[in-house]
């Protein structure tokens, strides 16, 4: 499996005038001394603008917290760009409008939050089956049911194990910062169109609602030929976009074709990032906003003598299983941190196949673990891992996944006075810095952009060895 860490170094696209003639747009890319190209933006709005700059032709949505600002941004900006915006009657309406527009060859974005994504599951299955490219953003909130409007990562299973019925997969990308989310929107369009598949961005309520400084660097993926798109059968045989194959032989053949495609995606499109992995004994595995907390925890653990590192899956499907398996051969234990009751931890355990203890630390319902909670879990794993190493012979006799201590804190109050850091930010000590600064280079595409090789103060980039 080749590794393609996220391409964070793509050169900034040339700034394009976004105003209609004689009309100033409500958002400007202009980089001037008075208006620098580094601005403070809300996640939902930055993602929306990134999609517009990525060439999104049509957006369909329905209001739901915590992603409503994305819809509102599109409501204002898409008409300015002469593109399609519809506030649909429901998430069902929105996703099926997307199906139609994408079948007609348009570059289409849909966004929602967890309960709305459940409603969209049906059409995701149809789009996977009929191979219609489209990007869907889930700004996750707490569940099950109506749950809460607070951030959560409890839709991991839904996103990576399939939303609707049938044998299918969709690429799922999980940004950890607003800047990275902007880049991954363009990547998601690329993946969707390259492989003729829906693709997902799995964000959460913090990424959607928080504001961060972002650089107005956008990427517009090239258009690929769409010889399947519906344009009207003018001078050519009619085209049909469908997932129906009533004959079992036909459907099996179609499914084998889909599986070949998914295999190709697994081979080529694994994305991940690592920090301080070179000499790490214990590794925190976390994605999305949990990785921001984990990153601070790793720094604090190091300060207290624990040699910790961070492994951050960026593509949740395809999952960086091989990289984790390789890592498992040289560390003593792994700690998975999620804003859920434990979902990605299952994939981590599958990946390491019992070679190291895999512990879990998570909060649910909109609660976010503090860095010190994670450090505490690392300390416990440290003890577990040591004992596990001592009894390696014993473990060999008892094959199967070895799990460490489970940490799901039911009602632990927010640790206010545990540490002086806590009052500052739930993002952690170095939250100001986009995580992509520490993504290992080189990238698969070999871009040599302005960000290449830059490292954050957190220091060593780990990752691929």
């Amino acid at each position: 499996m080749t590794t393609a860490p996220v391409d964070t170094t793509a050169p900034a696209s040339p700034t394009s005038p976004v105003a209609a003639p004689g009309e100033a747009p409500s958002f400007s890319l202009a980089g001037t001394p008075e208006f620098p190209r580094r601005v403070l933006m809300k996640g939902n709005e930055a993602i929306a603008e990134a999609a517009i700059q990525a060439g999104c032709d049509a957006y369909f949505g329905y209001p739901i917290t915590p992603q409503a600002e994305l819809l509102e941004w599109m409501a204002r900006r898409m008409p300015e760009e002469g593109r399609t915006f519809i506030q649909a009657e429901s998430e069902l309406g929105a996703i099926n409008m997307a199906l139609g527009a994408a079948a007609a060859g348009a570059r289409v974005l849909v966004s929602s939050s967890s309960p709305g994504i459940s409603l969209m599951a049906e059409a995701m299955s149809y789009m996977a089956g009929s191979e219609v490219p489209m990007v869907l953003i889930n700004v996750m909130r707490g569940g099950p049911g109506l749950g809460s409007i607070q951030p959560s990562q409890s839709d991991y299973f839904q996103a990576v194990k399939g939303h609707g019925h049938g044998d299918y997969r969709v690429p799922v990308l999980a940004p950890s910062s607003i800047g990275e989310a902007m880049e991954l929107v363009a990547t998601a369009f690329e993946l969707a169109e390259r492989y003729r598949t829906p693709a997902m961005i799995l964000a959460d309520g913090i990424l959607g609602q928080a504001m961060e400084p972002v650089e107005l660097r956008f990427r517009t993926p090239e258009r690929v030929e769409a010889p399947w798109a519906l344009t009207g059968a003018d001078g050519r045989p009619p085209r049909v976009i469908r997932s129906l194959h009533l004959q079992p032989e036909d459907l099996e053949e179609h499914n084998l074709h889909l599986q070949e495609k998914y295999h190709a995606i697994s081979e080529r499109e694994v994305r991940w990032a690592g920090e301080r992995l070179d000499d790490a004994e214990l590794v925190v595995v976390a994605y999305g906003i949990a990785a921001r907390v984990a990153r601070t925890a790793v720094a604090r653990a190091r300060a207290s003598g624990i040699r910790a590192g961070l492994f951050r899956p960026i593509s949740l499907w395809p999952f960086p299983s091989e990289q984790l398996a390789e890592l498992a051969g040289r560390v003593r234990g792994m700690l998975v941190v999620e804003l859920s009751a434990g979902q990605m931890v299952e994939d981590v355990r599958l990946a390491v196949e019992g070679r190291v203890p895999v512990a879990f630390d998570g909060r649910t319902g909109g609660m976010v673990p503090s860095p010190d909670e994670v450090v505490e879990a690392l300390r416990e794993l440290d003890a577990t891992g040591l004992s596990a190493r001592r009894s390696r012979r014993a473990r060999r006799r008892q094959p199967g996944p070895v799990s460490g201590a489970e940490h799901l804190h039911p009602h632990r109050p927010l640790p206010e006075a545990e540490s002086g850091h806590e009052a500052l930010s739930i993002f952690g000590d170095d939250a100001w810095m986009p995580l992509w600064y520490t993504v290992p280079v080189p990238t698969r595409h070999g871009h040599d952009g302005p960000g290449r090789g830059r490292r954050g103060p957190a220091g060593r980039a780990g990752g691929k060895r």
């Binding site: 309406g93 139609g100 059968a233 469908r242």
Partner: protein, 297 residues
């Protein structure tokens, strides 16, 4: 005079070009074939074949894409109007048609059809109502007549349990976004001819930018109704039309798109919230540019 010279052959009936030369999967006596033919004839006469993108439903007509030589998009059950909306908005030059049955349009897809109509989407809906779920073996539909026996209303539809037949097209006709709504049938040549002219009108409504258009076509399901084909046609003509009267329900064609934010049929009550009235009466046009120009004007 010798023997009569043979008259020059004159074609009085042929397969429309847009109708593919295959045998359909429809049951003997089913009305879908007639409706397919009417659609093919009208699209052919209006020269719309090369521009048309049609949306196929889930139900008996799920294979419509095999019978009409058009670009087709399959929609999940009931979602055809939303799929058609997406197509229409990104391809303003396309002619967009949905073909839906009564389970698809009047049950699972009520939300999508009502809001596509309310937005006045420039799409034309062909709604085939045979009062039953044929594809799945003849279960009760929202359009099933009171007293009608189906596999899921074995003693006949009882309003106390199953409510009343849904007059979907009448419900849609009250929406200002709807430019044309009518109900025809496939019961006899006269009705078929009237149905065809309604389908033509509904297509022209889209072409002229008048708004959403729907033609409900009452059809028969001999197998689902437990009748012979001739019996089912008599039943359609004499019984079904008592619940679903034939005719044009609303015709707001000719108003075009550029008439501004007034209620298109002049029926907006004077005491209505003017903003509300205008927003419902000026659904965004299929052509983005035109819509934006209109808004900014």
């Amino acid at each position: 005079m010798s023997a009569l010279a043979p008259a020059a052959p004159r074609v009085i009936y042929r397969r429309p070009e847009l109708l593919t030369d295959v045998s359909t999967r429809y049951c003997p006596g089913c009305g879908h074939g007639v409706v397919h033919r009417l659609v093919a004839e009208v699209l052919g006469e209006l020269g719309l074949g090369p521009r048309t993108i049609a949306v196929a439903p889930v139900g008996c007509s799920v294979f419509a894409y095999e019978y009409l030589a058009l670009d087709w998009c399959e929609a999940p059950h009931g979602r055809a109007p939303a799929v058609a909306t997406g197509i229409r908005r990104v391809r303003p030059d396309a002619f967009v048609l949905t073909y839906q049955g009564d389970g698809d349009l009047a049950a699972i897809g009520t939300g999508e059809i009502i809001h596509a109509a309310a937005r006045g989407e420039l799409i034309t809906a062909i709604f085939v109502n045979n009062g039953i779920y044929g594809m799945t073996g003849g279960q009760m539909a929202p359009t099933t007549l009171l007293g009608q026996r189906t596999t899921s209303s074995p003693t006949g539809r009882d309003a106390r349990d199953a409510g009343y037949p849904v007059p979907m097209t009448e419900m849609l006709a009250v929406l200002p976004g709807v430019a044309f709504a009518g109900r025809g049938s496939t019961a006899d040549p006269s009705s078929i001819g009237k149905t065809k002219s309604m389908i033509r009108k509904a297509c022209e409504a889209q072409l002229h930018g008048d708004g959403f258009a729907i033609v409900e076509v009452l059809s028969n399901c001999p197998v689902g109704w437990g009748m012979t084909a001739p019996e089912s046609i008599v039943h359609l003509r004499d019984v079904v039309t008592r619940t679903y009267p034939l005719g044009v329900l609303v015709d707001r064609t000719g108003r075009g798109r550029a008439q501004g934010p007034e209620a298109p049929d002049g029926t907006a009550p004077a005491d209505a919230d003017p903003a509300g009235a205008s927003s419902s009466a000026t659904p965004a046009a299929g052509s983005g540019d035109a819509a934006h120009a209109a808004k900014e004007a």
